[in-house]
C-alpha cells in the first residue's frame, strides 16, 4: 500500500492511457490489472477549446483516480497553465508535472521542474514531479512542497529498464518516508519488479502495456510483477555473494548412496 497526498492506493502499478489500440482495450487493461491510478495528457488533446472531452469522459468512466499530466510542456509557464486546466477538467488537485528539457531524450528540465513545482504547490496542487534520479533535485522538490517523487527508470518509451539502480537506492535511503514512483523507461515486468525490489513504492508506465501485442495480458503481468517486487522488498532479500552455499548441509549427507 502507498499513500499519495493522503489517498491510499493498494495497487502499486500506475498506467498511462495513451497509444492503446482503442479506449475499450484500455478500459479492459485497467480492469484486469486492478490499476487504481491512471495518467492522462491534456496539452495537445485540449486543442484551442478543450476539445478532448470525448476521450476525457471515457477516462473518467474508468473509475480510477485520474492523475493528469503536463506531457509535452517545455516551459514552466506551459506546465503551470496545463496544470490549471487539468484541475478544472478533472476536478483534482493531483498533477503529474513534466517539464521537458530535451526533445530527443524527453528528459526533464529539472530547473524548470523545481520552479513549476514551487508555483503549483503554492496554488494548492498535489505535485507528482517527473524527475531524474538526482538526489539534490529530489531534495529541492521536497523543499518546495512535493510529497511524492517520480524518478525516471530510463527515457520515456525506451523500455530499457532501470538505468541507474544505485541512484534509486540512494533516493530510497535518503527519503525513506517519501513515496517514490519509478516513471518511464520500463519495458518488461522484470524491470518493474526490479524497481520495487529496490524499495520504490510504485511504478508508472504506458508504452510497455499499450504497445504490447496483447495489452490486457501485459497489464496483468505488470500488476503481478509489482506485487512480487514489493513482497520481495518487504521480505528482506538476501545479498548476492561469491561463495556457493549449499541449501542442504554437506556434512551428514549420505555421500555414497
Amino acid at each position: 500500500m502507498v499513500r499519495f497526498y493522503g489517498v491510499e492506493i493498494r495497487n502499486a502499478l500506475l498506467l498511462g492511457t495513451a497509444q492503446y489500440p482503442s479506449p475499450a482495450i484500455l478500459a479492459e487493461a485497467i480492469r484486469e490489472s486492478g490499476v487504481e491510478v491512471v495518467t492522462v495528457s491534456l496539452r495537445r488533446e485540449s486543442g484551442n477549446s478543450r476539445a478532448g472531452e470525448g476521450f476525457w469522459a471515457l477516462i473518467r468512466e474508468l473509475g480510477a483516480h485520474v492523475l493528469p499530466n503536463t506531457a509535452s510542456c517545455y516551459t514552466v509557464k506551459e506546465a503551470v497553465t496545463t496544470a490549471q486546466m487539468a484541475r478544472e477538467v478533472f476536478g483534482t488537485a493531483w498533477i503529474k508535472l513534466e517539464v521537458i528539457g530535451n526533445p530527443d531524450t524527453l528528459q526533464p528540465d529539472v530547473f524548470g521542474l523545481v520552479e513549476a513545482a514551487r508555483i503549483l504547490s503554492k496554488e494548492g496542487f498535489d505535485v507528482f514531479p517527473y524527475t531524474t534520479e538526482d538526489l539534490v533535485v529530489a531534495d529541492r522538490l521536497i523543499q518546495v512542497g512535493c510529497e511524492v517523487l517520480m524518478p525516471w527508470g530510463a527515457p520515456i518509451g525506451t523500455g530499457r529498464g532501470i538505468n541507474n539502480p544505485y541512484g534509486l537506492r540512494t533516493l530510497r535511503a535518503h527519503f525513506p518516508d517519501v513515496p517514490i514512483v519509478v516513471d518511464a523507461g520500463i519495458g518488461l515486468p522484470s524491470h518493474a519488479a526490479h524497481a520495487m525490489e529496490l524499495g520504490c513504492d510504485a511504478v508508472l508506465l504506458n508504452t510497455a502495456v499499450a504497445k504490447a501485442g496483447d495489452p490486457v495480458r501485459m497489464a496483468r503481468a505488470f500488476a503481478d510483477a509489482v506485487a512480487a517486487g514489493r513482497a520481495a522488498w518487504l521480505s528482506d532479500p538476501i545479498d548476492a555473494g561469491d561463495m556457493a552455499q549449499p541449501s542442504t548441509p554437506v556434512p551428514g549427507k549420505a555421500f555414497l548412496s
Partner: protein, 334 residues
C-alpha cells in the same frame, strides 16, 4: 421500398451504392453544398490495407475487409493493386520488428529488393515489409464516382439540404432512413467520440511512388499515398480530440519532418493543401449499426471508412432486405 440516407461521406455513399445495386430506391441527402465539404472521408488516405491496419486494429477489421478491394474495383476506377510498403529508419528497427510480429501476409525485403520495388527509395532503407495483396484508391475521385453510380442506377443524391431522420419519415414517402452523418450524429450516439486527424497534400516533380509507404517511428509515424501526377497525400495525426478547424504547427512540423526523413527530396515538394477533420469512433474503434425504429445508424468507421465501408454497407443492405435486426439492437463487429 424507399430508403433515405443522410450524409454523403464514404459510409452514406457505400450504402447508397450497395442498395441501388440490389434494386432498392435510394435518396442521399447531404447538408453541405458540395461533395466532401464536411465529410472526413474527403481527407482519407484511401489505403485498402487490412493487414497493415491490423498492427493496431482488432481482428474484425481484417475479417470485414475481405471483399473490400473487389467491391471498390467494381464501383470506381482508381483502385490500384500494388500492395503497400512499410519501412523504418535504421535506429527504429524495433518498430519494424514489432510491426512484422503483429501483422501477416507480408514479405521481408532487403534494401536491394526495396529499391527494385520503389526506385525512388533506393539506398534509403536496409529493410522493409511488403504487403503484396493490399491496394489503394483516390478517395475524392472514388466518392464522386459513387455519386455518379447511384444516380446512374436511378438513385438521387441531393446536396445543400439539412433534414433529420424523423422529418424524413414523417413528411415524405421514405420507409427507412440510414443515418450516416459520422461525428455529427454524436448527440444521438452518445458513446461516439472524435479522433482528430491532420494531413497534407504534396506535389513533387522529382519523386514517384507506386504504392502507399508507411514510415514507422516511435513518436510520429506517417504514411504517404501516391495520387498520381506527382501528388501525394501525407497523413495522418491521431489526436484524441474533436477539433475540426485547424492543423497545428506541431503536427505539420512532425508530418513534414517525417516525410523529409523518408526522402529528403520531399524537401522541395510543394504543399498543395492542408486538411483536418475528426474520425467518428466508438470506444472499441470498430464500426457499428444500430436500429431504432425505422432508422438505422451506421457510424464509428474511425480511420477505416474506405476499408470497411463496403462491408458495413453490405451488412445494412442484408438487414434491410432481410429485416433481421430488431429495433433497439446494436450490431457490433468485435
Amino acid at each position: 421500398m424507399n430508403v433515405s440516407i443522410i450524409g454523403a461521406g464514404v459510409a452514406g455513399l457505400c450504402c447508397a451504392s450497395e442498395l441501388v445495386d440490389r434494386g432498392i430506391s435510394v435518396t442521399v441527402i447531404e447538408r453541405s453544398a458540395s461533395l466532401g465539404e464536411s465529410a472526413c472521408s474527403w481527407f482519407a488516405g484511401g489505403m485498402l490495407a487490412p493487414y497493415c491496419e491490423s498492427e493496431s486494429a482488432e481482428p474484425a477489421v481484417v475479417e470485414l475487409s475481405t471483399h473490400s478491394i473487389d467491391w471498390w474495383d467494381r464501383h470506381v476506377s482508381s483502385v490500384c493493386r500494388n500492395g503497400s510498403l512499410v519501412v523504418s529508419a535504421a535506429r527504429d528497427q524495433r518498430e519494424l520488428r514489432r510491426f512484422a510480429r503483429l501483422t501477416r501476409e507480408h514479405e521481408q525485403l532487403d534494401g536491394a529488393a526495396l529499391g527494385e520495388l520503389e526506385p525512388a527509395l533506393e539506398g534509403r532503407f536496409e529493410q522493409g515489409l511488403y504487403f503484396p495483396t493490399e491496394a489503394h484508391l483516390d478517395p475524392r475521385g472514388a466518392l464522386a464516382e459513387l455519386v455518379e453510380h447511384v444516380r446512374a442506377q436511378g438513385g438521387n443524391v441531393r446536396f445543400g439540404e439539412e433534414v433529420t431522420a424523423t422529418e424524413l419519415l414523417e413528411s415524405s414517402d421514405t420507409d427507412l432512413v440510414i443515418d450516416c452523418r459520422g461525428y455529427s450524429a454524436r448527440v444521438e450516439l452518445n458513446s461516439l467520440r472524435g479522433v482528430k486527424g491532420e494531413m497534407l497534400v504534396l506535389k513533387s516533380d522529382d519523386l514517384a511512388l507506386s504504392r502507399p509507404v508507411r514510415l514507422l517511428h516511435p513518436r510520429h509515424p506517417i504514411y504517404l499515398v501516391p495520387r498520381g501526377d506527382g501528388v501525394f497525400m501525407l497523413g495522418a495525426t491521431m489526436i484524441e480530440n474533436n477539433e475540426r478547424n485547424r492543423i497545428s504547427t506541431r503536427s505539420m512540423l512532425e508530418l513534414l519532418s517525417s516525410v523529409y526523413a523518408l526522402h529528403p527530396g520531399f524537401g522541395e515538394a510543394e504543399i498543395l493543401e492542408t486538411g483536418v477533420d475528426v474520425r467518428p469512433a466508438f470506444p472499441d474503434n470498430l464500426p457499428a449499426v444500430q436500429r431504432r425504429g425505422n432508422i438505422y445508424y451506421l457510424n464509428g468507421l474511425y480511420r477505416h471508412g474506405f476499408l470497411l465501408g463496403p462491408a458495413m454497407a453490405m451488412r445494412i443492405a442484408d438487414e434491410i432486405t432481410g429485416e433481421q435486426m430488431q429495433s433497439g439492437e446494436i450490431a457490433r463487429c468485435g
